[in-house]
């Protein structure tokens, strides 16, 4: 125990472990197949066991918050799509809704419906990517090809209407920049039908797989109390049995018009987080289906002044991004450029659990637990 404490102290300065101990350091990342981008985790190891994992951040840092202080809302808009590149539309959504709330701008109903439909499609896309990536981390190479097959279908739909496949910049203050047409509705309906059939394949290939269950059950258990101390949100906290979803808790846009459930897990382990996301995809399909049925006619972009005049004051807007609660907090000193924009990204808090969560774990479990968190590093680094 003494050696352990001594090691920790030494570790703070990134010095090699004390010569008397059996511990050693393993540098996982910044270029490692299962850290998804440029996360680096410094592992203090005792054989196969992880004694102390410390994430080292900042390799993808671009200082978005500073950029926001020098641009008007439209000029910063593309930045929002470049944080969580796997699910950029909720980031668009939170950002424009923030200005709408601050300046009291009305959004046409059709625009809100389009926002919800595209955001939910984007959430499904993000979960597709995650299933593949998590299974890839665990050594199964095939599921990612199946989910990417489905992902391509959605990306084609979104590309038609937003013009891009990944880093969207589609929403505008007061609405969206392009209306959806009959073709979009038709293709989306076809996709919903197809995706429902595909869940069967996912379940056969992954969910019921004995090796997968053995690798994820009881691995990386986040208790509700621990989740609260770290501010964990999104599917990770829902896996721990807490039904926290911004779409229900602080309903925004037209989400109150839809009937959907929040799937929750029981044990808070990696398997529960997997199941929560899988079930969430079905709920997103339900939302899209209802939204398409109710889709009102009308303008897709409301009347917005050319230059936004913001009142002085602060304003916060939270949305449910694919990885959890995303909050934009804006402090305005008047004018059209924010005085300060703080972006609370979900993966940041979710990843901060890692040192406590993965202490004493096997290296393979750490990879599975990290995979189940669905990390997007550029979002964390901003």
């Amino acid at each position: 125990m003494e050696i352990l404490a001594e090691n920790r102290a030494v570790h703070a300065d990134l010095e090699p472990a004390a010569p008397c101990s059996n511990h050693y350091y393993l540098n996982m990342g910044p270029q490692h197949p299962s850290t998804h981008g440029v996360l680096r985790v410094l592992l203090e190891m005792d054989g196969e066991y992880v004694v102390d994992p410390q994430p080292v951040l900042g390799y993808g840092h671009r200082m978005h918050e500073k950029m926001a202080e020098h641009k008007d809302w439209m000029a910063f808009m593309p930045n929002t799509g470049r944080m969580d590149y796997a699910a950029a539309l909720p980031y668009n959504h939170g950002y424009v809704a923030l200005f709408e709330r601050l300046c009291g701008i009305e959004v046409p109903a059709r625009a809100e419906y389009i926002r919800v439909i595209t955001s939910e499609l984007n959430r499904i896309v993000s979960h597709h990517l995650w299933i593949g990536a998590m299974l890839l981390d665990m050594g199964a190479f095939t599921p990612i090809l199946y989910t990417f097959d489905d992902r391509e279908q959605v990306l084609d739909i979104l590309e038609d209407v937003t013009g891009s496949r990944l880093t969207y910049c589609y929403f505008r203050v007061g609405g969206v920049c392009k209306d959806i047409d009959d073709r979009f509705v038709e293709k989306t309906r076809a996709f919903i039908k197809r995706q429902r059939e595909r869940f069967d394949i996912y379940n056969k290939l992954v969910t019921g797989n004995i090796i997968f269950i053995k690798r994820t059950e009881g691995v990386g258990i986040i208790s509700p109390e621990m989740a609260r101390r770290y501010g964990v949100t999104g599917p990770v906290v829902r896996g721990s049995g807490i039904a926290y979803d911004v779409r229900k808790n602080e309903p925004y846009s037209v989400y109150p018009n839809f009937d959907f459930d929040i799937p929750v897990g029981r044990n808070g382990d990696s398997y529960d987080r997997y199941m929560v996301r899988l079930l969430e995809m079905e709920q997103s399909l339900r939302i899209i289906e209802q939204a398409l049925d109710q889709l009102p006619d009308g303008p897709f972009l409301g009347k917005v002044p050319k230059k936004l005049k913001m009142p002085t004051g602060d304003c916060s807007f939270a949305v449910e991004a694919a990885r959890g609660e995303l909050t934009y907090y804006l402090v305005s000193g008047g004018g059209d450029i924010p005085y300060r924009l703080k972006i609370r990204v979900p993966s940041y808090s979710n990843l901060s659990v890692l040192p406590e969560l993965c202490q004493g774990m096997l290296l393979s479990d750490l990879v599975a637990a990290m995979g189940s968190m669905d990390l997007v590093i550029p979002e964390i680094d901003r």
Partner: protein, 322 residues
């Protein structure tokens, strides 16, 4: 030149050529099968349906620079790939491809093959140690522990068959399967052998030593060019050896529907069975996630070994009674 020596030289050349060819065919098969499992066309560019891709890859690997990492033990680092490759070629010398297609007939050919395949562990140990890389060392630890453990159920399951035939000669074992294949009387031994074979050749779901999402590439992280390709060749040669032992001991070897010139054309049935098993290996790899290391060990010591022992005991009693 004495004719015996000439025969040996020709045989040696043929064996090495076969190993290379086998690696190419298997490499192509692996990539094509995995592609179709994953609903994509796979290799399509070089030659019709990409059949020449592996040839091009081979040339590419030969042309690549051999990088020796700083702080590595140069001699051992260079030695390891050869140490891995050389013993993998030797089992082909005693392999009974057909009744008369066997380069050397030994009474203890089975033991010879098992001994040769076991040397691979030493090569991995040397490679991981000499690389001066923590990931390599990690992969090596796992690999050695895994290979040593899985050798036990593998040998025990083979022993059940040996008890029935009372010979270590591969031709003798094939001859003993005159009326039925041994898989019919020893299904459990076959399953245990095949699972141990997967672990022994470091194939998924037991690919711990090179688990890329955990250890980047395990023991061959630092190898490039031909150093890497020797490991690659050895892996495929080992896979072939494991499957051909299974074919000989459980699936009747070269026996099948008689063809003209049966003494030589038995190779057709032999290859068909071996590649059938190899296909299963590839199929498993591209379907399952990787098991965890402690689960791998538990599986071996708590399930495979007791079952293999029980199977051996029952076989021994039955052989005595009948």
């Amino acid at each position: 030149m004495p004719p015996e020596l000439l025969r040996m030289i020709i045989a040696a050349v043929l064996v090495v050529a076969f190993v290379f060819l086998n690696a190419m065919v298997l490499g192509y098969m692996e990539r094509k099968v995995s592609a179709h499992i994953q609903r994509r066309p796979g290799l399509m560019e070089v030659g019709p349906h990409g059949i020449l891709q592996l040839l091009v890859d081979g040339f590419k690997l030969i042309g690549k620079q051999l990088v020796v990492p700083e702080g590595a033990n140069r001699f051992l680092f260079r030695l390891a790939p050869i140490l891995s490759f050389a013993p993998c070629v030797l089992p082909f010398v005693v392999m009974p491809f057909a009744r008369k297609l066997q380069i050397v007939s030994m009474d203890i050919s089975l033991i010879f093959i098992l001994a040769m395949t076991s040397i691979n562990v030493i090569a991995i140990l040397v490679a991981g140690w000499a690389s001066n890389n923590k990931y390599s060392l990690f992969g090596t630890f796992r690999s050695v522990a895994q290979a040593v453990s899985y050798e036990i159920p593998m040998l025990l399951s083979l022993l059940s068959v040996i008890l029935m035939t009372s010979t270590f000669s591969l031709q003798g074992i094939i001859a003993a399967q005159k009326y039925y294949w041994f898989i019919l009387v020893q299904p459990l031994a076959f399953i245990i052998y095949f699972i141990s074979g997967l672990a022994e050749t470091n194939r998924a779901p037991f690919d711990m030593p090179e688990a890329e999402s955990e250890l980047t590439a395990g023991f061959h992280t630092e190898y490039s060019g031909m150093g890497f390709s020797f490991f690659f060749l050895a892996e495929y040669a080992n896979m072939f050896t494991v499957c051909s032992i299974a074919t000989v001991l459980f699936l009747g070897g070269w026996k099948g529907i008689p063809l003209p010139l049966g003494d030589y054309t038995g190779i057709f049935w032999f290859m068909l069975k071996v590649y059938g098993l190899l296909f299963v290996m590839i199929w498993v790899r591209w379907t399952y996630p990787r098991v965890r290391f402690d689960q791998l060990m538990t599986f071996c010591w708590k399930y495979l070994i007791p079952f293999a022992l029980a199977n051996l005991l029952i076989t021994a009693v039955l052989v005595k009674l009948i």
